[in-house]
Amino acid sequence: MTAPSPERLAADNVGGLMWEPAAESLPTPQLGELQIERLRAMLENAYAHVPFYRKKLDGAGLKPGDVGCHGDLAELPFTTKIDLRDHYPFGMFARPRDQIVRVHASSGTTGNPTTVGYTRADIDTWGDLIARTLAAGGVRPGDLLQNAYGYGLFTGGLGLHFGAERLGCTVVPISGGNTERQLKIMRDFGATALACTPSYAMYLGDAARDRGLRPEDLPIRVGFHGAEPWTNELRLQIEAGLGIDALDIYGLSEMGGPGVAFECLCKAGMHVSEDHYMAEIIDPETLRPLPEGEVGELVFTTLSREAQPLIRYRTRDLCSLTSEPCECGRTSARMSKPIGRSDDMLIIRGVNVFPSQIEEVLMSIPEIEPHYQIVVDRKGYLDVIEVWVEVGEDIFAETMGDLERFQRRVQAQIYNVLNIQVAVKLKEPKTIQRSEGKAVRVIDRRKAL
């Protein structure tokens, strides 16, 4: 690991610090040139080493060298999550397995998860992007980061960990959960920065207050919160609860994890790491690029990843982009907080859940009628899922014990696939709404956090 070099950190009055000032404040024309240069190299890499892309580009009559300007990006084919699933586990990798130093995978999927591979250089780049993220929140070498993201296949835990070490922080890899210990360590170790989901940050703030801890009792200054959509209202609550600046970070495992975009202390949208990712906003129906400022689906093209170059990956997140200059001096475009999805994916306590996964489990149980409803709600700060099924004569026996056993069996099967607890609710026949045409399977009662 490279030793932290203080000269890399340029002090900045309003937008935190810059870990790589030259790259982060690269004038727009040079940034554009750099992107095209890297895009060509990326396409060469994908074309030469990923049969899926060779076929796609050949099919479209395109050669990597054909790309000459930003407008040409729109001619390139899209990549979707299904493409990644179809090439499970390593079919989208552009390097042989012995050059891959790490593999992460997406959470909460049935069948094949989507995998993400990194070369040594990819890990280093990722570390730099996280170091940029942390520095933008004013974190310096010597700060102590309490990393309450989950460690494991999920990219959040190890991603923040390596980036914080690269910046020169003391990292406490506490992972998620165990609130009592989180608060004890936060106070005893003197954590100055926190990384976790926004809902957990809110929960920690409440738990601290319940134990008589005031924000001024905790030296923590800044929090980095992603993996779930959240609002500015929740930001204010987290900030008041823990006495910190709460910053939004954005990433997705397919792009390597967190570090793709992050807020600076101006809290005015997330700076996209544009020297490593090209961002577009498209209309999810027509797939045409939308003008700047309009809300549409976010699409990313990797520019520097060796192990897994992805061309125009459809994130399904709906947001807008602006290239207006930010007060912090970073020249990158900023993305708004995602306001929704262009597919039906639900984010439950940071885990990605597709209703189709629940349906698959239900349909594998022959007694269950083909009518069901998924109701998502929030109790306190915790997301809860209810799965409503109708009690037909195949399920119904004459004792309550039989019905309760049936509920527990369905809950256990869903847990096995999704790794989340759901509550199965038994309903009378024909009471779950039948809709003409497309059935409304999901009712999301959660108010925006």
Partner: protein
């Protein structure tokens, strides 16, 4: 000597049990006995009725989930120690009772959330019994 019992699945919604009784009453089916079992969100109703097959078809067509099972019915002397003597025999036979309720009723008792309000609303609509009247039955 087996007796057919009809069981109905009900969500805990106001008026559902009344619908069951209405359907049966309108069809001229008499309820000889019943019991309810409840959980937080749903319950089951057990019924002994005069025409179980017709009752089941009726309820099924009205969208209820039903189930038939076989139970034992026993006459209990209406005197102190009457129930005890029957249960002693059951225990001696080594049978363990899953559930039990009384049938052939003229009076019912039930619990509600707001008992005072319920009594106030029901007073001139049904014949309510006082504590003393019940003890003297």
């Amino acid at each position: 000597m087996k007796v057919t019992q009809l069981t109905v699945f009900l969500e805990n919604r106001s008026g559902r049990l009344a619908e069951v009784a209405d359907l049966l009453g309108t069809a001229g089916i008499n309820i000889r006995g019943f019991s309810t079992t409840e959980a937080a969100e749903y319950g089951i109703v057990r019924l002994i009725v005069t025409e179980p097959d017709t009752a089941r078809t009726l309820l099924h067509d009205a969208g209820f989930t039903t189930h038939f099972s076989q139970v034992i019915c026993v006459r209990v002397p209406d005197e102190p120690g009457g129930l005890a003597r029957v249960l002693d025999q059951v225990a001696e036979a080594g049978a363990s009772i899953d559930y039990m309720y009384s049938i052939s009723f003229q009076n019912i008792c039930f619990a509600v959330r707001d008992i005072d309000r319920a009594i106030e609303l029901l007073a001139d609509k049904v014949t309510l019994l006082t504590d003393a009247e019940v003890r003297a039955l």
